[in-house]
Every structure is written in C-alpha cells, then in structure tokens.
C-alpha cells in the first residue's frame, strides 16, 4: 500500500492552496540558489584584507519576489489562462481574447492624449515637477507611445500579416531616413542631435542587420540542412580577415574583396565539410566547435600574418562603388563631389543600406534555393538521410553545398564587419558569437527567415537597448550598469521563449510545392526543442 497516492488530496487542493505550496517551494529553491550569490559579497578593505559583507535584505527581497511571483502565477495566472480556452456554455464562444480587451478605443485615445501632452510640455516638465519625476514622466511617455503603436499594429494585424514582407522591407529601407530626420530635429532629447540619431542607425540598425545576415546564413546549414554547426563564427572571421589582410596589404577594393571573401569562406566551408560528412548531431557539433576554435587560435598565434591578438587596424573604408569615397582627405570625397556639408553620417547610412542589401541578398538566395532541387534536398536531408540516398540524392554534395553556401554568407558578413569597424582582432570571433548566432536561429524558429530576423532584433536590439536604460541608475544607484546583466537577461529570455514556444517565434514551415492554392500549414513543421 506504500505506493498508493491519495487522490482526494490532489483533487480538493484549491488553486490558492496549491499556489501557497508552490510559492513556498519556489522561495526555498531561490533561497538555496541565491544565498551565496546574493546573500554574501566578498571585497577588500583598506589594508587589502578579504572581507565578507552580508546582504540579507537584498536576499530576502529576491526570495520573497520569487515566492510571490510563483504564488501569483499559480493562483491567478494559470487559472486565467485555462479559462481562456473554455467556451461559454450559452454562446459556445471563447471568451474575448486578452488582446482585444487590452487594446480598446478609450485607452487608445487616452494614451494618444498623454503622449501628446507630454511631448508638448516636455521642455517645461522639469521646471514644474523637478528633474527626477520628469524622468519618470518621459518613461511614461515612452510607454504611452509603445501602447499606441501596439494598438495600431493590433487593429491592422490582418493587413500586416498579409503584406508582412513588403511592409518589413519598406520599414527597413525608410528606417535610417526617418530616424535621422526625426531625432536630429529633437535636439533636446537624450537621443537627439545628429550624433544621437546616428547611434540608432549604427548600434541598432547595422549591428542588428549583421546578426540577421549571420543568422540567415547559419540557417541554411542548421535550419534547412539540419547540420548543427557550433563554429559558424569561423567563417565570419575568415571573411573579416580576408578583407582586412587583402585590403591593407594589397589595397584592393571592398567590391572586389567582398566576393573574394565569400568565396574563400565557402572554400573553407567545403574543407570543413569533408571530414565531417559522416557526422550528425552532437558529433558534428563538437567537430565544428573545434573548427571555430582552431581558426581563432590560428589568428592569435600566426603573428607574422595576422598580427596576433593585437589585430589589424587601419582597414580601408568601403567606397561608393568606386565612384565616391568616404575619406575626407580623398579628392573624390562624397561631400566634395556632391557639394554638400561634410559629415560622418553619409558613411553610416551607406553602410546601413549596404548591409541591408546583403541581408536581402541572403534572404533572396535562401528563398530561391528552397524551391530548387538543391534546397529541397537540404530539407529532405534534415528529415531523413537514408531516404535521401535511396532516392538517388548525392548526400555528400548536398551537405557540402549547404556548408559552402552558409559559409559564403558568413564570409560576406565578415568582410562587411571588417570594413565597418576598421579594425579586426581574434577577440571578435569567440565561441560566444557562434552561440549567439545559433541561439538566434533556434529562437526564431529553424528555417524561418522572418522569425530569425525578429529574434535577432530582440536579442541584439535588446542588449543594445540595455545601454540606454539610464533611468535604472536612479533606482538602483549610480553603480548599476544594466549591460552587465545582458547575459542574464539573454538566458532568461531564451528559457522563456523555449517554454512558451518550443519551435521558436515562427514555428510554421512554409511549404515550397503547391498544386493549386497556397494553404496554411500546421504549426508543427519546424524542429522542436523537446524530444
């Protein structure tokens, strides 16, 4: 009778009772986890001795927050989500969705009014209520704007969904123009001024697009062909060093070296592909991981060529297709040719459009290849290698083309990276980069271009945005640097996304063959996180 579970005890437990229990457990676990991390802190005193300071208050706050959070989730969150799936007995309809209750016209109007008022009276706010509350009001304004935008997106969701690609590309093309135009007019804002606005083009636009391109390139290898590659950053490094070395040593132009770097990376993709042809899954992952590290170690140790850890600096800028240059000292400097004011903004904006073009090229090639025999063979290879071979598909060349194509886009991205930074060193090509790119592919939904772009935006944009959250310093004190927590948040976001959507943001795989009409296809098309 020892194994008998008393069923009554489980069934009579109300959500509140269960929540109390689970909240208590969550608190106990977090106490165990954090007692050393948060409760104790070591430091040095004046005479360089180790001192331990205790932070029991902070520890208590964290533990209580965890317990309360778990309690609220189990007591109210879970029953609420369950109730959303139950239809009304009388009408047979599901309850109105959370979104339609959240986005309502009166609230929308209120948010517009709040945002407008705070905009209009922005300059005098600090005088009325003091500097610190004014900061919070600016934060409130940001929230109101976000709410208004979300409302608009919600009401036009069908239209947006239908024209997603076109709208997305239009938005990306207009983005730098809008950002520079709007923000350079708002000189009063912390983000204002031309330099402030360029930061949005550079740190957010270009930075995110580099990762979009890398993730789309890796997507060919991992998402389509199903070959788990943990050393993708090696091809990024190869592209970057190919451009850096050939441009500084031989003075070749970016427009010659871009395809050259891509070809070189593709060649190395094939070279990596050969020894790993028989491997799949975990084994392949380990070998590719090693490959990435080998490339990095060669870059560090082959000093005569790569200049070791010091890296290569003074990498020439990209020219405007050889017609105009972005170097102030050159005779064909863009401002002199066009007779406009001298500014660093042109180069930033040009780079933005360059990487956008490269991204679109990657997407275009991926989409086209998926409809060609080679792309179909990649996807079939991911599904079942033995079946592929018995259908007459040469799996060797199929794998090698996947490696080569993915590596080529990594090489493109690398040479762009070198041209944009003007400096490369092995430090930019550590394993963490491979892991981030792979995480973007997995979070976005393997094989889905849109999902991956969204994931890159959230992951890279999110970490960049942390640098902007200066108001947090007013809460946590001046020592608080939000970007130090980015890896923590990154990890948390990944866990949450994988729990909430195990197939990534976009878990549906668009089929490539149609008889007559395009039909929506079930969501379980892409690879799933759990077994």
């Amino acid at each position: 009778m020892a194994v008998t579970v008393s069923p009554e005890r489980d069934t009579v437990a109300t959500p509140i009772q269960r929540a109390l229990k689970e909240g208590f457990y969550a608190g106990a676990i977090s106490l165990g986890l954090f007692v050393l991390f948060i409760g104790l802190k070591t430091g040095q005193n004046m005479s360089n001795e180790l001192v331990v300071t205790t932070r029991w208050g902070l520890l208590a706050a964290v533990v209580i927050a965890t317990a309360v959070g778990r309690f609220l989730y189990v007591a109210y969150g879970q029953p609420f989500m369950a109730s959303q799936k139950i239809t009304n007995v009388a009408t047979g309809l599901l309850p109105a969705s959370v979104a339609s209750r959240f986005f309502q016209l009166p609230w929308f109007v209120a948010a517009v009014v709040v945002a407008l008022l705070l905009f209009v009276f922005n300059s005098s706010l600090a005088g009325w209520v003091g500097a610190e509350p004014a900061g919070y009001l600016q934060f409130l304004r940001a929230l109101a704007i976000i709410y208004v935008l979300a409302c608009v997106i919600y009401y036009f969701r069908a239209f947006i969904h239908a024209n997603f690609t076109r709208l997305g590309i239009t938005a990306l093309v207009l983005y730098p123009i809008l950002v520079v135009a709007v923000l350079s007019l708002n000189a009063w804002s912390i983000t204002g001024g031309l330099q402030g606005s360029l930061k949005w083009v550079d740190n957010f636009g270009i930075q995110i697009l580099i990762y979009v391109m890398l993730a789309w390139g890796l997507n060919i290898v991992v998402g389509l062909a199903g070959l788990l590659d943990l050393g993708y950053v090696a091809f990024y490094a190869l592209g970057a060093y190919a451009y850096a070395l050939l441009a500084t040593q031989y003075g070749l132009s970016f427009w010659i070296l871009l395809p050259a770097a891509g070809a070189m990376a593709a060649l190395w993709g094939v070279l990596l592909g050969f020894p790993v042809l028989r491997l799949r899954g975990d084994y392949l992952a380990i070998v590719t991981l090693a490959f990435g590290e080998i490339i990095r170690l060669v870059l560090i140790n082959w000093r005569e060529v790569t200049n070791g850890s010091a890296g290569i600096s003074g990498i020439p800028k990209v020219s405007f297709f050889g017609l105009m240059s972005f170097n102030v000292s050159d005779p064909n400097y863009i401002a002199k040719v066009l007779g406009i004011a001298q500014s660093g903004a042109y180069y930033k904006i040009f780079l933005y459009y360059l990487i956008l073009g490269l991204c679109l090229l990657t997407a275009f090639v991926t989409i086209r290849l998926r409809r060609l025999p080679v792309g179909r063979a990649w996807e079939a290879l991911r599904e079942d290698e033995i079946a592929c071979r018995s259908l007459g598909i040469n799996t060797t060349t199929t794998k090698l083309t996947a490696f080569a194509t993915g590596a080529m886009f990594g090489g493109f991205a690398g040479s762009f990276f070198a041209a944009r930074q003007g400096f490369v060193s092995p430090e930019s090509f550590v394993f963490l980069e491979s892991a981030i790119i792979l995480a973007i592919v997995v979070l976005g939904g393997m094989g889905s271009l849109v999902g991956i772009a969204v994931a890159a935006m959230v992951m890279i944009g999110g970490t960049e945005a942390l640098r902007e959250l200066d108001f947090l310093k007013e809460i946590f004190g001046p020592d608080f640097t939000p970007e130090l927590y980015r890896m923590l948040l990154f990890g948390m976001a990944m866990v949450i996304v994988m729990l909430w959507k195990p197939r990534g943001f976009v878990g549906s795989r668009e089929p490539t063959a149609f008889l007559k009409e395009r039909r929506a296809v079930s969501g379980s098309f892409t690879k799933e996180g759990h077994g």
Partner: protein, 242 residues
C-alpha cells in the same frame, strides 16, 4: 511471361561487424515479375533489401542489375540505375508535405515528368490527393505507406523494392496496397521485389517466391507452389493469415 533477368543476386554475404547476416544468398528477379521474399523476424530479409542498395555493402558475392554490376556502387548511384525503394519503416519526410515528398521522389529527372507522374500516383492512391498539403508525419500509417510507394514510383523505376509494405496496417489497407502493387505490375509491367512477413498475402500476389531462414534462402518456387508446400504452411501460414 518471364523475360530477361533484371536483378541477379549471387552468393551475397553481408556482415554487421563480425556477425554474418547473409550467408551467400542467390536471388533472381526477372523483368515483369513480382517476387516475394518471406521469412521470420531476423532472417535477413531487410538486410538483403539494404544490401541491394549498398548499405551495408556485400562482403562477398555480386549484385547485377540489368547487366551492370552494382555491388560496389554508392547508394545514390544505385538509385540512379532506376531502382526505387519503399524502405523499412517507410522513411517518408515527416515535416514536408505530401507534395514535397513526391517531388523528392522525382528529383532524379529534376521534375521533368512530374505532373504526369503525380497524376498516376493519385489515380493509384486517391487518398494521397486528399492529403496533398498535409505534412507527411501527420498521415496515418496506411497513407504513409502509400506515400512511400508513391514517392518511389515518382522516379519511374525499372525495379521497385518494397520492404514490408503491410507492416502495422489494418487488413483492409493491406489489401488496398497489395491490389495497387498487382495493378502496377499488370498495367505498367513494373517489376516488383517485395519482402514480407505476411506470407499468405505476399505469396498470393507473387509470381515467384523465396523463403529465407537465418540468412540462407532455403526454398524457392512459384507463389502457388510455396503456398501449397507443407513446410511453408507449417512455418508461416498455419494459425496465421487465411
């Protein structure tokens, strides 16, 4: 009706590591025939099927297809000789649609006669047409088997290898699939070599049959002869299917 020899397997020995799975097997399949290979679990039937495709490769003996020695060819080259296979466990592509699965079958000729052939497959298996945009993994077992055979047919094979097409299927579906095989053989003259545990159904369908025990072919004859053979009856038919 017996034409020229299409597939000739002579003295084939296959090993898994040091374990011998086939001890010198001789099987011939002539053009226009349906040949059935029956035997118990672990007799080596599927191993022979896989050996024809070169994975695992035969360590001794020769496999000749239409006069060409294919023993040492890579698997995909063997498939390009127009041998198609519906492998054990069906091995359809689960996340690809029915249509994409069929396209994969037609990749040998780069979809040249795809439209024509896909119609033929749908005539043979109308169920597949209803499921055309559905992904392979969501099909029922019988539909997956139909898809697997359909995919193999898309390559316009001279020889179709079927590995246990009746495995795990309801009797009615098994009958449908066997009817389809008979139909293909009769109308298009397709040569079929099938491996079956369902000895009764397979031998009734087959022109000729082989019985395999522990990696050896122990008996052969026409389907009718084997059905009437007391040893075969005792080992594979009594108490089983009717």
């Amino acid at each position: 009706m017996a034409g020229t020899t299409l597939l000739d397997i002579k003295g084939v020995q296959t090993y898994y590591g040091n374990i011998r799975a086939l001890n010198g097997v001789d099987v011939t399949v002539k053009e226009g025939e349906i040949v059935a290979l029956i035997g118990a679990n672990g007799a080596g039937k599927s191993t022979l099927m896989m050996t024809i495709f070169g994975a695992p490769r035969a360590r001794a003996g020769t496999i000749t297809f239409a006069g060409t020695d294919i023993t040492q060819l890579p698997t995909h080259e063997i498939a390009r000789m127009r041998i198609a296979q519906s492998p054990e466990g069906r091995r359809i592509f689960p996340r690809m649609t029915v249509m994409e699965n069929l396209q994969m079958g037609a990749s040998l000729d780069n979809l040249k006669h795809y439209d024509e052939d896909v119609e033929k497959v749908f005539t043979l298996f109308p169920r597949l047409k209803e499921r055309i945009a559905q992904r392979g993994g969501t099909l029922s077992g019988g539909e997956q088997q139909m898809l697997s055979i359909g995919r193999a047919l898309m390559a316009r094979p001279k020889l179709l290898l079927l590995d246990e097409p009746s495995l795990g299927l309801a009797p009615l579906i098994v009958k449908q699939i066997f009817d389809a095989i008979r139909e293909l053989n009769r109308t298009q003259g397709l040569t079929v070599f099938l491996v079956e545990q369902n000895a009764f159904g397979a031998l009734k369908l087959a022109t000729r049959g082989y019985v395999m025990v522990n990696g050896n072919v122990t008996m052969s004859g026409t389907g009718k002869e084997l059905l009437a053979n007391p040893e075969v009856r005792a080992a594979y038919l009594e108490g089983g299917h009717h």
